[in-house]
Subunit: 331 residues, 2 copies
Amino acid sequence: MRAREVRLKSRPVGLPSPENFEVAEVDVPAPGPGAVQVRNLWMSVDPYMRGRMYDRASYVPPFQIGEALQGGAVGQVVESNDASLKPGDLVQSMLGWREGFTAPAASLEKLPADNAPPQAYLGVLGMPGLTAYAGLLEIGQPKAGETVFVSGGAGAVGSVVAQIAKITGCRVVASVGSQEKADWLTSAGVDAVVNYKRGDLLAAVRAAAPKGIDVYFDNVGGEHLEVALELANPFARFVECGMISQYNNTEPAPGPRNLIYVVGKSIKMQGFIVTQFAGLRGQFHKDMTSWINEGRLRWEETVENGVENAPAAFVKLFSGANTGKMLVKLA
Amino acid sequence: MRAREVRLKSRPVGLPSPENFEVAEVDVPAPGPGAVQVRNLWMSVDPYMRGRMYDRASYVPPFQIGEALQGGAVGQVVESNDASLKPGDLVQSMLGWREGFTAPAASLEKLPADNAPPQAYLGVLGMPGLTAYAGLLEIGQPKAGETVFVSGGAGAVGSVVAQIAKITGCRVVASVGSQEKADWLTSAGVDAVVNYKRGDLLAAVRAAAPKGIDVYFDNVGGEHLEVALELANPFARFVECGMISQYNNTEPAPGPRNLIYVVGKSIKMQGFIVTQFAGLRGQFHKDMTSWINEGRLRWEETVENGVENAPAAFVKLFSGANTGKMLVKLA
């Protein structure tokens, strides 16, 4: 099999651009004993990948110049040399950013036999969904009647957070960057949606959360975090999932001017990585599929086509061009 | 009884000065049914009191202009009109900043009959001690072999944190502002003491904590917090007890430039108020008195004399003039 792949050509400074990437075509070897050859159908681009483009120690190693990038993908087995998988099976891997690959069968995960479209396993039923589920429920600990504020509310993670918070019985305030996103979240039952591009964010969130904020699910950082600290109630929980507003900074940016509220309001602010909640995956899949089947949890996708457009899809995350999960369709 | 008391004359702007306070002499009424008259022996000045001098909503109401301040005190009953207390009994109250008072017996707490000097109930065996104990053990969750960094390490809270962390089997790094304080903590068994007034704090703490920081007990905020974020290990716990470096700011100061590490390092940063751990008081008193009797936990006091010097004692907290607990001896 011949397959195109996307490699990191140079480390981005500030906002990444397509010039930081290059496409190459490679021969995908036939599978040896225990291995399978897979044609990718969908790949995921996610904001966290920006961190792996810096050359620094982190919880995941940095991407290497000249090598294919990595990320979530779902694909179809085309040739198998292992009893556990047969041609036609759908599998999930971290070998995105390429049209196909050969890998040990044991390193892949077969998708459950259910009615969900395969790309849902890159979104609501995959890593972003578990991030939302575990972060909100385990760290945020929302209680019915409380107010949950989620930034990046129309994103792959934020939109799931908002809807699970509604299911939990909370008042939900979400921030988004466009009217289209606001309309979607409103139609999905979110109580109040604030467009952060329109004027005074503090005033808008204050009006939307008259009883203050009990849980803040942070995907954005920066001004959003400062606003959440200002409006936090005593013993509020801040789920620190991401700070996309800071990922492309070329100089360290000052933190919120009111961080001292962590002391005065007894706030818990906690970062996490989704892998620490791997033990919840069974319950997560059960709850999510129930909610989806009951029509209580919906999702949107923004789809780009072709591996050569994966860099552009990735860059679009930082201007908020995606509603819901940003995907690249590969086949 | 005639008694002098210290009143808030004006709200401090920036660093408080003695001019923000005034001393008045009042008649202390004879105790009615159920009440006692108390002569205060010791009163406490604590950094958190600065927050109550601002006119703003908080977890404790602000001090009022023209009224006597409040704070921890131990005193002796001189006249009793309640069966629960008799003259000579030692009691603890929040009616400091005055030489004496009359109050309902039920609002006071009789000191335990033990060998501790009464003023220890304003320090190691009182609110600062419980703050250190509960904050470190419940929020910090230190494990033997981990590295604990405590700022304000020679203060009433910090010095107890440092010693309990040693008892827990941790490597302990403390920051202080003088050689005298460093010498004391070293003699008390702290592994490494850094003088934050001498040069590069980041370099000094990095050298003192070669395996990184697992628990940061924050009394200071500002640069100390930024250094702790920089050196934090994955899943570090930040016990946000106080940020004394920020209490006298006249303008909001920017937060740490590396707060994004909360996400990338899965840090938990949590503020608290000691009252939420009231349920631990029994275990706290048992553990602390054992450690004191075994010689494993020591304390220092810095004592000013006379209620008229309480404002000066309070102001001295912000220049770090105290080693250990800052007290005012009233009788």
